[in-house]
Symmetry: C2
Subunit: 166 residues, 2 copies
DNA sequence: TAGACGTGCTTCGATTTCGAAGCAAGTAGA
DNA sequence: TCTACTTGCTTCGAAATCGAAGCACGTCTA
């Protein structure tokens, strides 16, 4: 049975609220910069970034969706837009015929290069201006285990089957 | 002109990515719990919470929108739903006839009471299980100034219409 | 007091998002 | 091999979100 003493003390509440606010404000600022610099949404940018960073320049749809914390149907929609814009290609996965492998195109990489400086500038200013180098290291040290813990406890496709539980 | 050397080092990048992922995963988990326990979205919950926490039980629309980092039109939409559900009331502000003052109803407070334990359980488990008390304090210490800095630099309704003042 | 401008909220249209249902390809057991 | 069951993605319909435009009230200045 789950520990019933999972109440949230004031300090935790402050951290939680600050986290939610910071991520919301940061997302808005990023969205605006990306739109101005390259007519991209944050989701689209994240897709291109993940592909760009991959050694092969490609990923499966499901892996992408999980990586950027987005629904599968939402990713299908965005992949359609990105493909139409010539920034990615979609092809059946070689090893599993029902899988789809997404790859960045040269145009996609070029666009990343175009928006990345502005992106880093915004993140640097908004998020890291008030933080020292040590602070940034500490933040990473705190959040990385949290991320891993979350990924471990809420593994795949959101709702793992729900019955009459209401 | 802002400092052009605002590049992001690997440590910062890790912190940034972890922050985005954590907030996304957390939001999804919260959304699901709120829907199951009280048929609320996270945005609606935040509105009710802010009102519930207010000494007067009410807020102006604009203040609410800023507090929860949401567009004004989006808040209008949600306020319509919440009012229809009898969880809030809307009335012209006493001191400014064009303003709208939103207040929680008893039903609204009751619903908050209904979903809050589950909410705290989710936040406690997902966010604070991997963190010690000191870690939580540190997280708050890091993120609070960031939040304040963001709020200070991107003040009101998104683009403040650069006038001659800039 | 009048005209011009600023502010607070809502309406509108377009886009994005999600979950559920659907479909095709893989897998396991008889 | 046949027949379920699983898995990976897309389609579909409903809902949420945003920015721009609109409207009504406030404020300032002459």
């Amino acid at each position: 049975m789950p520990d019933p003493t999972h109440s949230v003390d004031p300090v935790q509440l402050g951290a939680y609220f600050a986290l939610i606010e910071v991520s919301g404000l940061l997302r808005h600022a990023i969205d605006q910069q990306l739109r101005e610099d390259g007519d991209l949404t944050f989701v689209q940018f994240q897709v291109l970034m993940r592909l760009d960073q991959s050694p092969t320049g490609s990923h499966r749809m499901t892996d992408l969706a999980d990586a950027i914390v987005h629904s599968r149907s939402g990713l299908t929609y965005q992949a359609g837009l990105l493909e139409k814009a010539g920034l990615i290609t979609r092809a059946p996965s070689p090893d599993d015929e029902r899988g789809v492998t997404v790859s960045v195109t040269e145009a996609g990489r070029a666009l990343i290069g175009q928006v990345l400086p502005g992106h880093e500038a915004v993140v640097g200013r908004m998020l890291f201006d008030p933080l020292s180098r040590d602070d940034a290291r500490t933040l990473a040290r705190l959040l990385t285990p949290v991320r891993d813990h979350m990924r471990a406890s809420a593994p795949r496709s959101a709702t793992p089957r729900r019955r009459r539980g209401t």
